[in-house]
Amino acid sequence: MRHLLLCLAAALASAAMAQSRPDMARLDYDLRPRQIAERTWVLEGAVEDFSRANGCNIINTAFIATGAGVVVVNTGPSRLYGEQQRRAIERTTREPVVRVLSLNLHPDYFFGNQAWADRPTQALQGSVNGMQAEGRAYADNLYRLCGDWMKGTESTPSRESVEPGVMQIGGHRLELRRLHGHTSDDLVLIDHTTGVLYAGGLVFANRVPTTPHADFDAWQASLVKLSQWMAEHRLRQVVPSHGPLHSGQGGLDQTRDWLRWLDDHMRASAERGLDLSEVLRLPVPERFQGWAAQPAELHRSITQWYPRYEQQVLGGAAARR
């Protein structure tokens, strides 16, 4: 475990060196493609919670120049991000973009889609439905949190649905798989050619996982599968949507550890008879204290999910008189 943590810390440190410095006056995300494998680059978001200072850019997006066109993974939190992402890609490769994938329905996975109106924007059908249903509420929330960075952004759901399967694009054998648990449709991209796993929202590293659409049991089961796939296909690098890129299972283990703790913590607290107000004030174990988005993300999770645990321990209706 200690070794894993060290790996993550090292990954975090190297990420910090390439860390972009968003410029609020010019609304410039300062996106810097970092090459992580052959013909493969990532644009790393801040390992933080949404804020105006980071431009609400807390997501890792990526692109693969396959030799037969570029595949883009996730389009960021705003129209401006999408535009700057597109320019960054065009500075890096001359290949045209042939596919733009969003790995789930959350806003920073697809709010840059406006910049890709002339390209196939794709997601799992369930994600597309979710984007259509929730896009406007996401926009309200992000405008409130991020201010001017959101200028001109309108929720633009992916236009095409994708099915899981293997595709050969240029020199890359890419595979799409569907899992669920972080949301009801979590798209995972495996690049068998480079051994990179694009884990989307299923894996968080050094950052409190977000849980607005979570199914905790399904999520745990999906993490087990991801772990097996990593071993089976010798996947070397993990690109989580939030948190530093890393090799090995450190992020998977962290996410598993957190979800298990959170579930146990809420169940035990409900059984003791604690109120939500009290649970929000309980300390978290030391191993989680340094994570990004602490305690705001923890509070969001508890506020949303604890009432269900309370309901379970209250039991059935009392006899009426």
């Binding site: 929330n141 409130r144 003791r272 008879g273 604690l274 109120d275 939500l276 107000s277 009290e278 929000l280 004030r281 705001a296 509070h299 969001r300 506020t303 949303q304 009432p307 309370e310 321990v313 209250l314 039991g315 059935g316 209706a317 009392a318 006899a319 009426r320 008189r321």
Partner: protein, 265 residues
């Protein structure tokens, strides 16, 4: 007076104001530690001319940010006043900037002077507990709750899907021992849509009164609720450890529907 003169005079007044302690003493918040302009009006409405003080003896705990504006958890604890002014007679909770400012009034009777519950908030606001001791004096505790808001003007889940009518006024209750040492906690939920009346086409519909009575019919605590209390209120109270024998939860909503359920120990 020429225009120039009046400008000079205004400037002089402004400069004078900046340096004058008299001006600095003008306080439109009535001494409110949270600096809320609503406080003087709230004080006049709820406390009249009765003596009052702001105090840390009344703890009001809310979330730093109301992640769910329809379910903002609050915990009020006035146990520190148990030895003051004959002890706590009542606790009144108000929210400065809610469209309906009254949240609830609580008479602890045999319960400890503390309770936890959830409310709807329409915007960020100070939240107050006005606590009256038996000598008539008021002791006020406050906290700021930041919120994106909107919690009072959207229908609750059971109103939105229509399921409220199947569970109306059902009660769930459970005791928990020793959450606080030597005390017995009661958590009680009453199923009710608690409509604020601020959603188009849905009139205000809320529980007005709740009380816990023992086998002999004596009340152990009383609550008056108002519109901002969250849908399906879940209230947490602290009772003495002995059993009252045959507890019942009694109450009614503003449409006259009765609440009457056994609360087994």
């Amino acid at each position: 007076m020429t225009h120039d003169n009046s400008r000079r005079l205004l400037l002089g007044a402004a400069l004078g104001a900046a340096s004058s302690p008299l001006w600095a003493a003008v306080d439109h918040t009535g001494g409110d530690p949270l600096g809320s302009m609503q406080w003087p009006g709230l004080r006049k409405q709820y406390l009249g001319d009765a003596p009052m003080r702001f105090t840390k003896d009344v703890l009001v705990s809310g979330p730093a940010f109301a992640d769910d504006a329809m379910n903002v958890p609050l915990l009020v604890d006035a146990r520190a006043l148990s030895g003051t002014g004959g002890g706590v007679a009542r606790i009144q909770v108000v929210v400065d900037r809610n469209p309906v400012r009254e949240v609830l009034e609580f008479e602890p009777l045999k319960a400890l002077p503390m309770l936890a519950f959830r409310i709807r908030m329409e915007q960020a606001s100070p939240v107050r507990a006005l606590v009256q001791t038996r000598d008539g004096a008021w002791h006020v505790g406050s906290t700021w709750v930041q919120a994106a808001g909107g919690g009072c003007t959207v229908p609750g889940a059971t109103r939105a899907d229509g399921s409220w009518s199947r569970t109306l006024n059902q009660v769930q209750a459970r005791f928990f021992n020793n959450v606080l040492e030597g005390s017995r906690r009661l958590r009680v939920r009453v199923m009710h849509p608690m409509d604020t009346g601020l959603v188009a086409g849905v009139p205000a519909f809320y529980i007005e009164q709740l009380q816990l009575v023992d086998g002999a019919g004596a009340p152990w605590w009383r609550l008056a609720l108002h519109e901002p209390v969250s849908e399906n209120p879940l209230i947490t109270l602290e009772l003495p450890p002995q059993n009252g024998g045959g507890f019942r939860l009694l109450g009614r909503d503003n449409n006259g529907n009765r609440i009457d359920a056994e609360v087994s120990a």
